[in-house]
Point group: C2
Chain length 336, copies 2
């Protein structure tokens, strides 16, 4: 596979899975201390991958859940955010300006922060009450794994996720399954990139627990790393404006999930099959998760799409566009 | 002014304001019955204008507030949505498929619905426990006025909006102020439309209580009614991907609000001034609200932007593109 080191990837999976003990210990401490609600606070790609978790929690827990953009919440506050809240933050670099500022603000206000931090001794680490090291070199799926262990252990402690142990045991098998998914997708990724790398504009659609994925890939990869124009819209909202832009030659990328909102994705698919010749469907259902219960698939679907898109499709785009994924003209290049 | 009937508009303003008594009576009944949280449930443009209200309420009330897309919530439910919730819905036609289905679902589950309905005897009216007639012919600002009276009266009843009476009294002066805002904006709208009607792609940016406005205008007007490609992004998230698409010839439309997040808009403005020659700033601060306290301006800012954009800029686009705002190729043209 293009730019893929299987041994390193599986080692990263193992490193991630090894944080299970620590994560469960943190979750148990939080449960023991008690909390009234949970806030996810981050920016960009980091908040994007929290959105699927928020969508899942709506269906699973009686605890009120909120997601806030770091730069906004420090300006406005939020009346539900108090010392009784738990704040979950994440930053791969550990020094994302807005997130670090929000963590400082939380500390000043006495809000308890638990963070996923990708870099040892980063500023975010020092500002957090609890730290979950997110030491995998790459792979958004590994951040999902840690978030899942954290939130579902919290739910298990409230009897809202009774199959937690089974779920967490089976998570160990996720990385090897994702390698197989990547392998299966590799020629498809090549084909998609070859066909569409030169398209000046793409519509990206997905819903619910897949919306964060669509938001992340379209904005933080296609736009940020390839400078290609996108429009991202949820499958439900697609029919209230963006559908009018669909025509034979407009590419629509649909990311289908496996949860209760899948019928909304299917409605988009049915519509687009008729009105564009350039429909690309990424369906997580096409990828096996051996040794993992079907019950957990809707939760793990974003780990599949992220491994296919962020780790595979992005590199194939890079190959055809010749546009290095690491080049930025503005982002983090200077102060603004 | 282009396609504008001032007398009709002021009459619509009056009709809207006359619902104050009924709205306050409904709010008082709801307050008396009690409620644990408030859900805004709708689709497309109707949910878009609820998003600013959600952003305001985060800062003003201890009541948990949620916004859900109608087609999604009926599939997944939401653990916080119970018989103790109040559901606020809105539909101009009163027959929007997803919203009507969600209202039926609420009724089946015993959730109390209060609706803003634009058409007498529409299906949504029959499914709602309380109905606020929204009889103005056009004008998103009139829907805002009704929503504001409803939610801020609810807050007043909890001592969370002590200046309610002053606010509601002054609302009567909003329509005439908006006429003046339109007049001032008319030549600017013409200039913007003339300069940009032919641009194949626009970035629309705004934040917080203005985000719903940016979402609405870009998707439900520019995309749906003019078939022009857009990307909408919040001022805070702009810096995490979309900024890389900015270059000299890419139009960026920034809608500045007057709340606590205005500094985020200013950051976008400062950045874009340097990196595109096509920055258009819509700043509600440029428009007077005579007879209305400055304290209320951040709340009323979305009514100003909507009157400028949806009511004025849209018609000037239509004039230059020659693309009738009422033409749809798909939306409501057949079943899909």
């Amino acid at each position: 596979m293009l730019k893929f080191d299987e041994q390193l990837y599986l080692k990263d999976g193992k490193t991630t899975y090894e944080t299970r003990g620590k994560i469960e210990q943190i979750a148990d401490e939080i449960s023991k201390e008690g909390y009234k609600n949970i806030f996810f606070i981050s920016v960009g790609g980091s908040i994007a991958i929290m959105l699927p978790v928020v969508e899942m929690l709506k269906q699973l827990t009686d605890v009120p859940i909120y997601a806030e953009q770091a730069a906004e919440v420090v300006l406005t506050g939020h009346r539900q955010l108090t010392k009784d809240s738990i704040v979950i933050m994440s930053s791969k670099s550990g020094d994302t300006k807005e997130t670090v500022r929000a963590a400082e603000w939380c500390k000043e206000n006495g809000y308890r922060v638990v963070s996923l931090v990708g870099t040892p001794d980063a500023p975010l680490e020092k500002l957090s009450r609890w730290v979950i090291p997110n030491r995998a070199k790459d792979g958004v799926e590994f951040e999902y794994m840690e978030l899942f262990m954290l939130v579902f252990r919290l739910l298990a402690n409230r009897n809202e996720f009774p199959k937690y142990n089974q779920f967490a045991d089976q998570l160990e098998k996720l990385p090897e399954n994702l390698v197989k998914a990547k392998q299966k997708f590799e020629p498809i990724a090549d084909e998609i990139a070859k066909n569409y790398y030169n398209e000046p504009y793409n519509i990206w659609v997905g819903d619910g627990e897949m919306w964060g994925e669509v938001y992340l890939f379209s904005m933080c990869v296609v736009e940020e790393m390839q400078w290609i124009r996108t429009k991202a819209v949820s499958s439900s909202e697609f029919f209230h404006g963006t559908l009018e832009l669909v025509s034979d030659n407009v590419p629509v990328f649909l990311v289908k999930g496996e949860g209760k909102r899948r019928v909304l994705d299917e409605r988009v698919e049915k519509f687009c099959k008729q009105y564009t010749k350039k429909l690309v469907v990424i369906d997580t259902k096409d990828y096996e998760l051996e040794g993992i219960d079907d019950d957990f698939r809707w939760i793990l679907a974003p780990t599949i799409s992220t491994t296919l898109l962020v780790d595979r499709l992005a590199f194939h785009y890079e190959k055809y566009t010749g546009h290095d994924l690491d080049i930025r003209r503005y982002y983090r290049q200077f102060d603004y």
